[in-house]
Amino acid sequence: MNPLVLWFHKLGSPPYFYRFAGKWLPWLYALALICGAVGLYGALFTAPADYQQGDSFRIMYVHVPCAWMGLFAYLFMAANGFVGLVWRIKLSETLAMASAPVGAAFTFITLVTGSLWGKPTWGTWWTWDARLTSELVLLFLYFGVIGLYHAIEDRRQAARAAAFLALIGIVNLPIVHYSVIWWNTLHQAQTVSLVGPSKITPSMLWPLLTLAFATHVYFFASVLARSRVALLELESGKDWVRALLPATETPHD
């Protein structure tokens, strides 16, 4: 069998994934921390102040990566949710549910830092334009998924129901992304493009990309950490989990 396919199948086994994630977790956190520090240094010190917004534009370095991560986390959650619903893979269900609170956290940071940026720039803490409204709806979708997951007793059924809800809500993602193109919004249109040149000067761009990378790495670290704990809870009856308990007494039951 193809070694990659074999590894993929092995990864679906909870004890294997637990060990795998545990091995990589410290490295991921370290990478996120280092890249984050470098990016933050660039954001606060080396990036020149914006000629219109002055130093308030530095909020962008926190606001934009979190906004990107809020959307990415939802996509990750929905994709894993889909796999979990169709193929009933326990790990996919776990990863999907683990990414919900992280995505919600990023979306929350996006909304609040956006509000803090909007006050000096637009003169208002909040406006009901398409981008802000759809981002708020995204936060409510996250809360709905998390709430539904915690309301059902059986963890696997709960994950499936919440994953189903996440898939229904995925229609909001293109709305958030294209809101600044489809509607006349107060929020500015995009300046950074995945393909083609970006409308932002390089000295301002590199801290943004560095922080975007750092938040991605952090996201995966957080999801892996939460998934490990979720697997411990899910598999608490199994031997491999019991073996992890501090060996005070070893009853065999």
Binding site: Y29, L40, V62, S222, L245, P251
Partner: protein, 56 residues
């Protein structure tokens, strides 16, 4: 230096943003640590109870 801390007048907006970023992500990073402690403590309690029930 003071100019940097005052962010040329925008300090009230910039520093809370960065602080929120740090605090929320720190809380998110610590959550699995506490959750794991809770789960393992629960499990240990259950194992002890099951063991004490078996030994007459």
């Amino acid at each position: 230096m003071t100019d940097f801390f005052a962010m040329h007048g925008y300090a009230a907006y910039v520093w809370p943003s960065y602080a929120l970023f740090a605090v929320v992500l720190l809380a998110d990073a610590l959550a699995p640590v506490f959750a794991r402690r809770h789960v393992m403590r629960d499990l240990a309690r259950r194992v002890r109870r099951a063991a004490s029930r078996k030994t007459p």
